[in-house]
Amino acid sequence: MTTLILAEILNDHDSQQLSPSALQAVAAAQFWNSPIHLLIAGNNTASIAQKAASISGVERVIHTNSDHFSHPIAEDLANLIVSISHDYEVILATHSSFSRNVLPRVAALLDVEMISDVLEIKADNTYVRAVYAGNVLTTIQSVDALQVLTIHASSFTAQSLEGDAEIVSIASPAAFGKTRWISEVRSQSDRPALSAARVIVSGGRSLASAENFQQLLSPLADKLGAALGATRAAVDAGFAPNEIQVGQTGIVVAPELYIAVGVSGAVQHIYGMKESRIVVAINQDPDAPIFQVADYGLVADLFEAIPALTAAL
């Protein structure tokens, strides 16, 4: 038995980095007690491969460099994984927009039903995952010989960096050809990434405009060294960019402190933040559902409470 992890490369301010979620993927893969290989596909991956080789528990880092992987598309990544899949009984990645794009394609090419966003691994083929926007947990058992899954990163404790894996370079299959990468728009923010932030300040529709959203929440976030988050209603209204939407359709976060400002607490939003250690809710409606998941609730008009909070810090 060998496990293959698909690692993600992050493009961060023109430099490339191994996504830190690889450390959680390796932690999850340890369950199978078998050798762990980590796959990196890019166009200039030597230093990323070095970094990956230092993750404790990884036996081999496989990397491939090719022009068509400078902006990898799912079709090429899937074909690459399939080309080496015969060596593996488990193929996994952390649940992200990257892996969610690629691994279902891999699973179908290999005739496997895939398991998404695993919260807990119970046995070699048995998993716990959430359904209905996190309101129900299911325990499911796969009968496929090969397991293809994504894991819920925050459910697994990151591995340390004390390893020394071998690094192997492989050739990649020819480009798929029917998909052309055109462009990307990455958010340019000096704030910490939502997925890694220790503190998140999240705003809802009640901020009422993009100007308010920035003018009220930015100073608070600056003082706290926090990332900004938003509800879908705030994003749809154009108050905040889509990539900071927290929830079922956005990103799932688990910071030390989550401050929900004028957020009602719809189930789809709670799905994305309920793993936060401490939740603070500021809402003028004492019956807002967000208070049911908040450690500290302040019933107040945010337009008064937020400047006061910022000033008090």
């Binding site: 966003d117 959430a130 129900v136 055109i182 462009s183 810090l313």
Partner: protein, 250 residues
Amino acid sequence: MKILVAVKRVVDYNIKVRIKTDGSDVDIEGVKMGINPFDENAIEEALRLKESGLATEVVVVSIGSSANQDVLRHALAMGADHAILLEAAIAIQPLAAAKLLKAMVQREQPDLIILGKQTIDDDTGQLGQMLAALLDYPQGTFASALQIEGNECLVTREVDGGTETIALSLPAVVTADLRLNNPRFVKLPNLMMARKKIIETIDGSDFSINIESRLNLLKVSEPPARKAGIKVASVEELLSKLRAHEGILL
């Protein structure tokens, strides 16, 4: 250009489902059902392509029991030209569904296939990618914008940290994010008219595809609930409470 849209019937997104007392499954008996929200975006996008003259026909397909007729009627009321119910007896899993949809694609020969990016019941988000794989088609997942240019479909995708735009040679598979568009409201007269339209029914077993479950549901349970905490009276009290927590530096 012909467009095929796949729609699923799911528990209404406002409903908090209950678990059966024996923990064997969720209890959706008598619960309000509706079309998966993302699939409404998929239909809407197909209709807009038709209204702008780029597409000629919009076909919707749903896999499931005869109960799925209601979501197909909803799609017809929105403006879809033709609806197909692919009857399958068991709760169908994504790979099996992808195999059935592949058979439908081979029969209908659409140039573009639009699905939702995920279902709100199982939250899997796999079917579009799986279908594209089985067809060896290009895929544009989590689409927040879509444009047809010649023989290509330009898709702007919502990804972690921003957006990405790719061009897919048609035929292709696209999965719709909520921000792709605002689905139109269905007017009552349209709903009445849709009641009279014919829904084509196909027996899923006609395709001799093995759709047996590969994922066995062993148990369902409640997630550990977060406990409601306390209400504080002022910003000052809030800060003093937070400062008392280890590791929270304010």
